[in-house]
């Protein structure tokens, strides 16, 4: 039963919905993900990070639970739940292991997301259903060595030759690349149309003409693989175009809007794990004759961490709920991603500080949370891009 309090704000005629208590199904769903994360991910997260191991078995188990395709309708093999449920799932999984949370988020939001929204029924059956079970994961290839934030400058080209598209170019920083069985990839079909000349394509992996660059050696989320995708006369059937010709940029932007909620959720999980670690340590570690949790300096840090996480969480839930209500959510998603990623880096930093020397060594997970948190301010739109998106929306609202 929903306990929802609605406040009508005069300025801008916006409806602000404040969630007091999650519905029962969402609570159960959050609990099952938390149980899985505590029992199956927490104990191995350190090892996955240290050895750069992709959690294949865990991804299969999460697939069996429906977590790899939360929003996908049951008819296509998914869990048929809403985006709020998805956000809760990613947060809980990320709390156990930041890398695994990233794999879940990329598969759901960045790979399945655009196909679900823009694909034909046949494309959905071919490219979504096998990716709901955890047996296969997908990836999303937009960034290039020459452009990350400047997505409109895509230099990967696609030309038509008979019944095929031929792709050439290089994509950079592609998460899941070495573990993926397919990619949603963006290439320019009409250079003269600039960003309106970019189209989206579906490419299976492995595939002739598509090769992978070396795995990047990253600061954090080390159980995920990140590499370049190199396309050299990579040929795919015409039917592999996703959406209409020239709509690639729009598809990418809309996909990233939703993907932001996923990354915000991942950041929340990492932030919460860092807070949990610090609060637990504050109870146990004694100094100056008492647990350090008695010291105001430590208390202030814990309070600041808790406020950062909880406020980012409410922003994330609001963005998810707006999306579920089919209302515009671009601004709120950007705010959520910005707040949550900055909360994650803040909590990661402060958690190490609370642990002192113990926070700096690998015996405790604080240093891993610190390292995992950092990427959330960069991928799926840097914090700077989020600020531009938010400001753009705000200024539109205030324009007379």
């Amino acid at each position: 039963k929903w306990a929802v309090m609605c406040l009508l704000l005069r300025s801008g005629f916006h409806l602000m919905v404040v969630l007091l208590e999650l519905p029962e199904m969402h609570q159960m769903m959050r609990q099952t993900c938390r149980d899985y994360a505590d029992r199956e991910l927490g104990p191995i997260a350190g090892k996955l990070d240290k050895e750069h191991l992709f959690p294949a078995q865990q991804v299969r188990e999460l697939g069996a639970m429906g977590v790899m395709a939360v929003e996908v309708p049951e008819a296509l093999g998914g869990a048929g739940m809403d985006y709020l449920a998805y956000s809760l799932a990613v947060e809980e999984i990320s709390r156990g292991c930041g890398s695994t949370g990233c794999v879940v988020s990329v598969n759901n939001s960045l790979y399945i997301g655009p196909i679900l929204k823009f694909g034909t029924q046949k494309q959905k059956e071919q490219w979504i259903t096998p990716f709901t079970t955890g047996e296969k994961v997908g990836c999303f290839a937009l960034s290039e060595p020459g452009n990350g934030s400047d997505a409109g400058a895509a230099s990967t080209l696609a030309r038509q030759e008979g019944e095929e598209w031929v792709l050439n170019g290089t994509k950079a920083w592609i998460t899941n690349s070495w573990d993926a069985s397919a990619t949603v990839i963006f290439a320019t079909t009409d250079k003269s149309l600039k960003h309106k000349g970019i189209s989206a394509f579906l490419v299976p992996m492995p595939h002739p003409g598509l090769s992978l660059g070396k795995k990047e050696d990253k600061l954090g989320i080390r159980a995920t693989s990140t590499a370049n995708l190199i396309l050299e006369d990579c040929r795919i059937p015409l039917g592999n175009m996703l959406g209409s010709r020239g709509s690639g940029f729009k598809i990418a932007m809309q996909t990233l809007d939703s993907g932001r909620i996923g990354i915000a959720s991942q950041a929340l999980g990492i932030a919460q794990a860092a807070l949990d670690c610090a609060a637990d340590y504050a109870h146990k570690r004694t100094a100056f004759g008492a647990p350090i949790g008695k010291l105001q300096a430590v208390q202030f840090k814990l309070a600041d961490m808790a406020v950062a996480v909880e406020s980012a969480r409410l922003l994330t839930w609001k963005a998810a709920m707006l999306k579920d209500a089919k209302k515009p959510f671009t601004k709120e998603a950007a705010m959520a991603k910005l707040a949550a990623s900055e909360a994650a880096t803040f909590c990661g930093h402060q958690s190490i500080q609370v642990l002192g020397g113990m926070g700096y060594v690998t015996d405790m997970p604080a240093e891993r949370h610190y390292r995992d948190a950092r990427i959330t301010e960069i991928y799926e739109g840097t914090s700077e891009i989020q600020r531009l998106v938010i400001a753009g929306q705000l200024l539109k609202e205030y324009a007379s």
């Binding site: 609570q27 159960m28 609990q31 099952t32 069996a64 639970m65 869990a79 739940m81």
Partner: protein, 253 residues
């Protein structure tokens, strides 16, 4: 071969640090995380597996307590039980509720539902009584397979491998019977998201102990609850002779 009743108890979560109330009347439960008793999870898993192997048609999850226990029943439904029964017990009756009262309720329900099996966890992690299964079987005059680490249905009989102090004991009992689940019986599944959605539509019936003709009067009164005494530090000795000398000195031998 039709119906199995599974008991699920809502207990304080195993990971929570238990605190005794200042008045020593019990432990703090307000605002404390609760979840399904781990042995009850194992019981549910076994019942659902028997249904998947087509030995039984229907699994009914039962819990006794206040409104909050419906969460526990829903979790059982999300793991694959078909329907639930919530026996409402609250207030003083709930605080005083123990194995005998539960056993009476389960015995009455087993007859009412014409169950072939009643599967319970071997004990609850809050009171560690390990009595309810045995009492239920006695009230029904049914055979019991307790501490089960393996259950196989063979026609109208059940083969149960029991974990006992001396090792493993295998017995064959006729149905209807009561089984209690031990730790190694199975590994409970996680509730999947689609099953959580399906659980929403499954029915939970409400009833009171009086509807089953059960009186909840308890003959047991909890006088006082204390924390276990703080463990004292040990003493290290260098040799076996030192050890024997110390044990002699403090009167142990």
């Amino acid at each position: 071969m039709s119906r199995v009743l599974v008991g699920v108890k809502r207990v304080i979560d195993y990971a929570v640090k238990i605190r005794v109330k200042p008045d020593h009347s019990g432990v703090v439960t307000d605002g404390v995380k609760h979840s399904m008793n781990p042995f009850c999870e194992i019981a549910v898993e076994e019942a659902v597996k028997l249904k998947e192997k087509k030995f039984i048609k229907e699994v009914v999850a039962v819990s006794c307590g206040p409104t909050q226990v419906t969460e526990t029943i829903r979790t059982a439904l999300a793991m694959g039980c078909d329907r639930g029964i919530h026996v409402e017990v609250s207030g003083k009756d709930y605080e005083a509720m123990g194995p005998l009262q539960i056993a009476k309720i389960f015995a009455a329900l087993a007859k009412k539902e014409e169950a072939s099996l009643v599967i319970l966890g071997k004990q609850a992690i809050d009171d560690d009584c390990n009595q309810t299964g045995q009492m239920t079987a006695a009230l029904l005059d049914w055979p019991q397979g307790t501490f089960a680490s393996e259950v196989t249905i063979d026609g109208e009989k059940v083969k149960v491998v029991r974990e006992i102090d001396g090792g493993l004991e295998t017995i064959k009992i006729s149905m209807p019977a009561v089984l209690t689940a031990d730790l190694r019986l199975n590994t409970p599944r996680y509730a999947t998201l689609p099953n959580i959605m399906k659980a929403k539509k499954k029915k939970i019936a409400n009833m009171k102990p009086a509807d089953l003709g059960v009186d909840m009067v308890s003959r047991v009164e909890v006088l006082r609850v204390d924390e276990p005494p703080t463990r004292l530090a040990g003493v290290k000795v260098e040799t076996v002779d030192d050890l024997v000398a110390k044990l002699k000195a403090n009167g142990t031998i």
